[in-house]
């Protein structure tokens, strides 16, 4: 059965026939396929690296209605890959910037903005009005939320994900194949895997993966019943070694959402599920703001400052008077620290340093340890404007 029923199709204008001529010439798309694209409603979740090419190509292809969901605002560091936003858009909501670009490219497309975070409270209402969902999110809690909502609402979820030089793409459609949870029943604990904000991402990579997603969205709508789509297949792509691989995906009969006896029938608390609400416990370390660290240094106090970043990051911004000790060497080199002195750990944004501190405590270290809040980026913001923020 076609995703877009025949009753929803309406004729194309002469202008539309001229605009979509190259689609109409393909027998696989043709007039009927183009009418389905015009009748289709696609929700793009996230207007970042993946959402940017998704929105642009789907608009160019003549999707009738595109929803864009993102709570974020355009920042300078987005522009290396999020090509739907421009330098003049810095500071604007990403959905507003995306809407402008889509309308400029194709005024025939209706764009609906959702400038909110997708949550268990609003996801079903937002998703239910769309035919296809394209997942361009950047975090696990939203991925599981989108997956579960799509399974429950019987919507295809066109998936893409990127990290550093590596991408994944698939179509999760529980009506016809596996869902995201069949592949990954649960996410990694927070912090075990670095994010792109810390690990980096090659700018063209989400472009490639997002365009693969856009192609899958179009094929699902045109109605070959998903048979040549990525349903049941996972594409993995290594940009650096320039290798594509295709892996088989099986439906997990024990999947808690789409399996034979589902145990999850409504949306859950995804922050809790992803371990982002740790139990409140006494922290073994203290936290210093950049201002507090500056005040203590200015008072002449002797403090050990340990920079746990890798050499290529220290080359971007060097912290004055810090001793470099990359995170992987902490356990081995803990003898170099004097437990009689207070020690401050720094990283880029104050997150990896917490894992370095935990690694230090696992060695049995007994000295007093602090984490520099917001890392060297915070120091550059509050104390030393001569340092770049990255």
């Amino acid at each position: 059965m076609a995703l877009i029923s025949d009753e929803r199709l309406c004729d194309l204008s002469h202008d539309e026939i001229a605009r979509y001529s190259r689609h109409l010439l393909l027998p696989e798309i043709g007039l009927e396929g183009q009418k389905r694209l015009k009748a289709a409603k696609v929700l793009i979740i996230g207007t970042g690296g993946l959402g940017a090419p998704l929105a642009l190509y789907l608009a160019a292809a003549g999707i009738g209605e595109i929803g864009v969901a993102d709570f974020d605002f355009v920042e300078a560091s987005n522009l290396q890959r999020q090509i739907i936003h421009s330098t003049k858009d810095i500071g604007r909501p990403k959905t507003a910037s995306a809407k402008d670009k889509v309308r400029g490219l194709n005024p025939g497309v209706k764009v609906t903005e959702y400038n909110v975070a997708l949550t268990s409270a609003n996801a079903m209402d937002i998703i239910k009005g769309y035919d296809v969902v394209a997942d361009g999110t950047d975090n696990y809690q939203t991925r599981y939320l989108v997956n579960d909502a799509c399974v429950m609402l019987k919507k295809p979820n066109v998936y893409g994900s990127v990290f550093q030089f590596e991408g994944q793409a698939s179509v999760f459609y529980a009506e016809k194949g596996p869902c995201y949870r069949c592949l990954y029943p649960s996410p990694p604990p927070p912090g075990l895997v670095p994010s792109c904000a810390e690990g980096g991402v090659m700018g063209v990579l989400p472009g490639i993966v997002g365009i693969i997603q856009a192609g899958e969205v179009i094929k699902l709508i045109i109605g070959n019943d998903g048979k040549d789509s990525l349903i049941g297949r996972l594409l993995i792509f290594d940009q650096w070694r320039m290798k594509f691989r295709e892996l088989k995906l099986d439906k997990d009969p024990k999947c808690p959402v789409c399996g034979e006896h589902p145990t999850i029938s409504g949306l859950i608390d995804y922050e809790l599920f992803c371990g982002l609400k740790p139990e409140k416990k006494e922290l073994a370390y203290g936290t210093l703001t950049p201002f507090e660290l500056k005040a203590r240094l200015d008072s002449g106090e002797k403090i050990q400052i340990i920079d746990i970043r890798e050499p290529h990051e220290r080359a971007i911004a060097k912290f004055p008077e810090a001793k470099p000790m990359p995170i992987g060497q902490i356990a081995r080199r803990c003898d170099e620290l004097d437990p009689e002195l207070d020690t401050v750990f720094i990283c880029k944004i104050g997150t990896r340093s917490i894992f370095a501190i935990n690694a230090l405590f696992e060695t049995g270290y007994s000295g007093k340890v602090y984490n520099l809040q917001d890392g060297i980026n915070g120091w550059a913001r509050d104390i030393d404007n001569s340092l770049p923020r990255y």
């Binding site: 950047d138 975090n139 990127v162 592949l183 990954y184 649960s186 996410p187 927070p190 690990g199 892996l247």
Partner: protein, 95 residues
């Protein structure tokens, strides 16, 4: 059996930076154990404390998930590729 184990970018930092390592083993489990022996720092990324594989890492022999075969007991033969496929989520900051 000598197989090549493919390491994804997210885990290369815990495997001496290698993208591909030749390892010996008769089963997928033995190949992973050989990896963990050579690069102990990758261990906590592969295994739960009870020795089971972590649920956010899939292991493929060729194009098939070992979950659909015999798990870690899945036999491998000379020249096979064993591929680690971790979940990746991109973008934002974690904490």
């Amino acid at each position: 059996m000598s197989v090549s184990l493919l390491i994804p970018t997210a885990l290369r930092g815990f495997a001496g930076g290698s993208a591909e390592i030749e390892l010996e083993g008769a089963t997928a489990g033995e190949v992973l154990a050989a990896l963990a022996k050579r690069h102990p720092e990758i261990k906590e990324h592969l295994y739960e404390e009870d020795g089971n594989l972590r649920s956010f890492i899939n292991v493929y022999v060729g194009d098939t998930n070992i979950k659909s075969l015999n798990g870690q007991d899945t036999a491998v033969k000379d020249g096979d590729s064993v591929i680690l496929v971790p979940s990746i989520a991109g973008g934002g900051s974690w904490l």
